[in-house]
């Protein structure tokens, strides 16, 4: 122990090429699962975790997820020593079951409970009218919050997905938390090609989780639903690659669905071409010029970068919290063929700051720590999660809102510069 008033000397930074990766960027991974689970009508989650974790996750869930009371097993030293993890979790499940309209009790098991052990067979599968579904999302094993969305959705579908009975061969399941208008627009375009219906997941309806087991194809709009996608594969439901993003992406995606569902090829081509033309017209009407770093932690960054590049922006660097996966490869290849120099998975703050140093961007779409660093330098910057992930994006109908917003941000350079000078230069007044 030291009571020395002066801190010791520390050696300075060593000359190394790559930044030291110290601050990984993701919301607490478990948040992704809670966001999905609390938004389902009739779902009353029970959490198994320590009090600090519970406080933080409840806080962000009440900010971003739902106005929903959240129950938990008390797991302190006393309970852990006495081996009461299961007992207290079961007690919380019983209280949750008494909530009005309770149909689903997701049991969200986090770091401490997972380390102590929470055997699934010790929990009820059903209580009253409610299904009890265990969702294991320890932060130490999941690494990013988008991937926890996948874990939660897969857990729900494994229990609830109904695969018996006839397939609705001409229907499509859309996977991904997107702006609410996007699935409606996608549904409208798909119906023009002969699709008879879509189901958007994760959503608010338990019935959707049940009937999605009989769709004709599944289309992950975001590239991190790997466990969910493999579940669909195990149900012999084919998977549509890519996403309806921008002109070329939308065209390819619509064509792929046409092929998978064996729709009328002439009609599909006609609809896909019309959509491509509308998208191209929009891209031509509001071209972007400027250099943008796309560095959120939502797992959808690569698709956003793709749209921005199609619209004329230069995107030298993209980073995300999720790990590399076959689902991310097509967009990564597409970007790299069009000038993107780096696509970083499981990124850290240090990776992003190094890119800020290297590329001198005109606009940064980032995490809150990174966006604040860019703003300190007078560069326009936004928290990707709050501003991008919450706007229409897909197909020609969605892209206009996103592109218009980016264009507006690129024109706001002066106020960022003034703030930077005022707050960081002592002489500025």
């Amino acid at each position: 122990m030291s009571s020395d008033a002066t801190p010791p000397e520390t050696p300075g930074p060593e000359a190394t090429g790559k930044p030291c990766r110290l601050h990984p960027q993701s919301m607490c991974p478990a948040f992704g699962s809670l966001r999905i689970l609390t938004r389902i009508e009739g779902a009353h989650p029970v959490m198994a975790t320590d009090t600090g974790c519970l406080y933080g996750l409840t806080f962000v869930t009440h900010f971003y997820g739902a106005r929903k009371s959240i129950l938990a097993a008390h797991l302190g030293t006393e309970e852990l020593m006495a081996g009461q993890v299961v007992e207290n979790t079961r007690a919380a499940i019983e209280v949750a079951a008494k909530e009005p309209g309770c149909k689903l009790i997701p049991v969200v098991s986090l770091c401490v409970a997972e380390t102590a052990g929470l055997p699934e067979e010790m929990l009820p599968k059903q209580i009253g009218e409610a299904e009890v579904v265990l969702v294991r999302v320890p932060a130490y094993a999941i690494h990013s919050h988008p991937e926890a969305k996948d874990v939660a959705l897969a857990a729900l579908l494994r229990r609830l997905g109904e695969t018996d009975g006839p397939r609705d061969a001409k229907t499509v399941a859309l996977l991904g938390e997107v702006f609410p208008a996007d699935p409606l627009v996608i549904d409208g375009v798909l119906r023009q090609m002969g699709v008879t219906g879509t189901i958007a997941l994760p959503g608010r309806s338990l019935d959707d989780l049940r009937r999605v087991g009989r769709v004709g194809a599944v289309a992950p709009l975001h590239p991190f639903y790997k466990e969910t996608v493999s579940l669909f594969r195990s149900w012999s439901i084919p998977v549509v690659g890519g996403a309806p993003v921008g002109a070329s992406g939308s065209y390819a995606w619509l064509k792929a669905i046409g092929t998978l569902l064996e729709l009328d090829p002439a009609l599909v081509t006609q609809v896909a071409e019309a959509e491509r033309e509308r998208a191209q017209a929009l891209l031509n009407a509001q071209p972007l010029s400027g250099r943008i770093l796309v560095t959120g932690y939502e797992g959808s960054e690569v698709a956003y970068a793709r749209l921005l590049v199609e619209a004329g922006a230069e995107v030298p660097y993209v980073s995300t919290s999720i790990g590399a996966d076959p689902l991310t490869i097509p967009d990564e290849m597409w970007l790299k063929a069009r000038g993107t120099k780096e696509v970083v998975y499981r990124k850290t703050l240090e990776d992003d700051v190094a890119a800020l140093d290297a590329y001198a961007p005109d606009l940064v779409l980032g995490t809150t720590p990174f966006a604040s660093i860019a703003k300190e330098r007078g560069i326009p910057a936004l928290y990707f999660t709050n501003q991008l992930a919450s706007r229409p994006f897909f197909l020609s109908a969605g892209m206009g809102a996103t592109l218009g917003f980016i264009q507006q941000m690129l024109a706001r350079d002066a106020s960022y510069q003034w703030m930077h000078e005022f707050f960081t230069l002592e002489s500025a007044q």
Binding site: G12, L22, Y55
Partner: protein
């Protein structure tokens, strides 16, 4: 007995440690944490409690499956330390390693490891599986004094006239304003502020705490252990006029500045507090005896608001729950039920109470943020709850919200809600708006009793307007269905429908 938690109001002592240590700029913290415990405490939550973009002087060891699976966290912490050192982030910094619930869960004790890191590095075992944030803050402040202040303090002489303020840390509701006001009171009483610990202190300056003649502890929840250790007279920060008078007088007495303190109180009465006197003499205070209030907040706030709004202004308190909760306080299940069934007109609380009010459709109740959890910006110095300015701010807030409630229930011609877009608000989704019924329909006695019961649950102030509105709503429905009188069944159905 199994224990469960509904909507946890207090976080853990790990958070307390980070939020008490990181405000000091000459510290760097390594939290022995998985990514989530780092993100929530350092970015996701302080974004919305303290309005800071992120806490910069903290780095996680990033516990993964390997560490949990048996390798322990020592290597990860060492690797993190080396990275920080190599990046130059430890230059001029004291290094403190803090345990988390998960590192404690896997039994990671790093008190030996820290002796092999940068000289002077310490390990703080946060007891995160046992203690809440309040006990945690109290203990970590004492630990900081023991390890970084006490020894050097033996050379420090007490300087008459100096006063320390102990608290706030990050995550203390409304601390910017309360601190500002308490500082103003100390100076008004004739004191000079020495150290504001930990929020405006450097770790290297902790020994300076010994210089003060008096300590003011901002909160009842923590800081008292340290105040006792410092050995000088101390007192809690005040709320309400009577406590504030006593606070200023006591300071004046201890400081030998009683005359200045008395002059300050006199001047405050003629300036700041005139607003309270004017509102008391005006029509506003007439509402107080019939306007019910409830508090769910720290004990500091609950006791302070009880003294001011309850005893000094005479408002009826129908709900009072303090944090940290004592065994005889309502638990959140009982609290939730009360807010569903019979909410007071004003609820001072956290987002949990706000959610319960929303669940219960309590649109007549005014929610006033007074506690974490819940996102809020409180960085202005103009919203104190403490001291003289606090009395003005709180009463002003209450009266303005009463005005707002009155406005909300004044009649508005329903025609505006039917007008096409571009003129007035659109009609509520899917709901046919009904104008006033031509003449009253007869009500069955049972139906009338239900209406009375519904009104009884409403705050007094809104009852006149609300009674007309509910009556119109039920009668409108009766007419739509061609009923000749309001039946008990219809009243039950319409009154049970959630309000917009």
């Amino acid at each position: 007995m199994s224990r469960i938690i509904r909507d946890i109001p207090d976080t853990s002592s790990y958070w307390a440690a980070v939020w008490a240590i990181c405000p000091m700029p000459d510290v760097h913290v390594i939290c022995d944490a998985p990514i989530g415990c780092f993100n929530l405490v350092a970015t996701a939550v302080p974004d919305y409690t303290d309005a800071v973009p992120h806490i910069e002087n903290i780095t996680p060891s990033v516990i993964t499956e390997a560490e949990v699976g048996g390798s322990g966290t020592a290597e990860a912490v060492k690797r993190t330390y080396e990275g920080l050192r190599d990046e130059g982030l430890l230059a001029g910094k004291h290094l403190i390693v803090i345990s988390t619930a998960e590192s404690e869960m896997i039994g990671s004790d790093l008190s030996d490891l820290v002796t092999r890191l940068q000289p002077g590095t310490t390990f703080y075992h946060s007891e995160s599986l046992t203690e809440d944030e309040w006990a945690g803050r109290d203990r970590v402040l004492q630990w900081l004094w023991d390890n970084y202040g006490a020894a050097a303090a033996s050379d420090v002489e007490v300087e008459p006239g100096l006063v320390n303020i102990i608290g706030p840390t990050y995550g203390c509701f409304n601390s910017t304003s309360d601190l500002h006001e308490v500082r103003r009171l100390i100076e008004g009483a004739g004191g000079r502020v020495n150290v504001i610990f930990p929020m405006q202190t450097r770790l290297s300056d902790i020994a300076q705490l010994a210089k003060a003649q008096i300590n003011v502890v901002l909160y009842k929840e923590f800081g008292h252990t340290l105040a006792d250790s410092l050995g000088q007279p101390w007192l809690h920060a005040p709320m309400g006029m009577r406590q504030t008078n006593a606070f200023v007088r006591q300071l004046g007495e201890w400081l030998g500045t009683s005359e200045q303190a008395a002059a300050f109180i006199k001047h405050e009465k003629a300036t700041t507090l005139q607003a309270v006197w004017d509102l008391w003499r005006g029509p506003q205070s007439d509402w107080f005896p019939t306007t019910t209030i409830g508090f769910v907040a720290t004990r500091t706030y609950v006791e302070g608001l009880t003294a001011y709004l309850g005893e000094e202004l005479g408002m009826p308190i129908t709900l009072s729950v303090a944090r940290p909760r004592r065994p005889d306080d309502l638990d959140n299940d009982a609290l939730r039920k009360q807010l569903h069934d019979r909410p007071p007109t004003f609820v001072f609380g956290s987002i949990n109470e706000k959610i319960y009010l929303a669940e219960g459709g309590a649109r007549m109740t005014n929610f006033i943020p007074a506690s974490f959890p819940g996102p809020i910006v409180r960085r202005s110095v103009g919203t104190p709850f403490m001291g003289y300015r606090g009395t003005v701010y709180i009463v002003q807030e209450i009266v303005n919200r009463l005005y707002e409630a009155l406005f909300t229930f004044l009649p508005l011609d329903t025609a505006y809600q039917k007008a096409p877009a571009g003129f007035g608000p659109p009609a509520a989704n899917g709901q046919k708006t009904t104008g006033p019924a031509p003449g009253n329909l007869p009500w069955q006695a049972e139906a009338k009793a239900m209406l009375d019961d519904a009104l009884e649950k409403m705050p007094f102030l809104a009852r006149i307007s609300a009674s007309r509105e509910l009556q119109m709503k039920v009668e409108g429905a009766a007419q739509q269905r061609g009923l000749k009188e309001v039946t008990a069944e219809l009243a039950a159905e319409i009154l049970a429908a959630p309000s917009k």
